[in-house]
Symmetry: C2
Subunit: 241 residues, 2 copies
């Protein structure tokens, strides 16, 4: 089903078959989007939210001089702009990083869904709160870690998230971001990301090549990024990669 990866591997995922069917029923047909496509713009009034079935998307904000700051990266199973449901209008832009399959959930149907299944409503709320927890971790990363720490933290986070939905094979996962993109997520220039990745590679922690990340030594990578996956609210089974 389209929503198979929704909250997969997370604590509190307990969702009845009935609830899952109800959630699935509010989704429109799946749509394939090309890479680097803007999906929603800041200030836009939104009447539906995007569920990411597969691929990578991001949310970002641009500064006046055109510098871009990613504020989140979304992967398979994420309800990308569910934030737009209570907020009604977006405070950031949303775009694809790779080719993506998405399904749209109209907000009026979400309202019906939540009134019929209050517990499912709390799960949806929960999923947006995990996003907020990731935001907080990004604030910490930008405010208190140096370049090596930031990149190590970013890679550790992505590794754990993708592991929880079964998208890590042989310690590797697809990674459609350029070094420039990674810099825009970590508050660094593309050039410095390049040098930082070399440090991680030469230390035998992780390497990125050909749009695939391979985590060579998770413990040391996580340690370099002061990373602890607690804030992802994964369940015991998927928590340790």
């Amino acid at each position: 089903m389209l929503t198979d990866n929704f909250l997969k591997g997370r604590r509190r995922r307990e969702m009845s078959a009935e609830e899952r069917a109800a959630l699935e029923s509010v989704m429109g047909d799946p749509v394939t989007l090309p890479r680097r496509r803007i999906v929603a713009r800041r200030d836009e009034v939104v009447a539906q939210s995007t569920f990411l079935v597969s691929g990578f998307m991001c949310r970002y904000m641009d500064s006046l001089d055109g510098q871009r700051q990613l504020v989140s990266i979304q992967t398979s199973g994420d309800f990308v702009d569910l934030h737009g449901y209570p907020l009604q209008r977006l405070d950031h832009d949303v775009a694809t990083l790779s080719e993506c399959v998405v399904a749209y959930a109209p907000h009026d149907k979400l309202t019906e869904l939540i009134e019929a299944f209050p517990h499912l409503g709390r799960l949806l709320w929960f999923s947006t709160m995990v996003d907020a927890a990731m935001h907080r971790e990004w604030i910490f990363r930008l405010g208190r870690l140096d370049a090596v720490g930031r990149v190590a933290h970013m890679l550790s986070e992505t590794y754990c998230r993708l592991h929880s939905v079964g998208l890590v094979k042989n310690h590797s996962f697809d990674w459609p971001l350029t070094q420039q993109d990674l810099g825009e997520a970590c508050g660094l220039t593309g050039v410095h990301v390049n040098r930082t990745l070399r440090v991680l590679r030469e230390a035998g922690m992780a390497e990125v090549s050909d749009h695939v990340v391979t985590v060579l030594d998770y413990d040391r990578l996580a340690s370099a990024g002061e990373f602890d996956s607690d804030y992802l609210y994964l369940n015991d089974h998927t928590r340790t990669p």
Copy 2:
């Protein structure tokens, strides 16, 4: 009433008298907390959330070498750790910055409240999504603004938030944070915050003295911080300070 400032000045505040009374009824008696008191700790399982009636609180995370990063500042009318309701356990610490009056809302009562008043449930969700929008703006601030921009943005944000709940008088508001605290919010050292505040003061944009911030030229301050209050989701009446 205790919750008078909840969502005050925000879009979508529409709350019926019945809803407001119901919200008020889940709050315990108000409690006064001293300044610099830790209220909740990371990893703690939480069974109640803290509503901030008056004063300043913060949420923060410490790095391994003891460096602190504030991830949010909470002011009167904020449901400080409502995030803990869907999440059940916290990913950060919570403390007071000034003497505070708070009221606690037990989570089991919140569940009853939301099932009885689904619309009120969406308002609570909305309030946590405004927090998430602020998190995103903090990510942008740390990732893309220089020291002057970060501090200008922080002061602009606080000015608008306090204005919306009526706590700005004569372009001034109480500000219990030290320069060190402000640095911990902006990813700067206390020393550099000092120099940065001097720049803002000498430019005639804002000054901080004796724990009071006075905004001398809001337009230039906001401009220096690339600040646009959209993400606070204020209504038309309170939006322009």
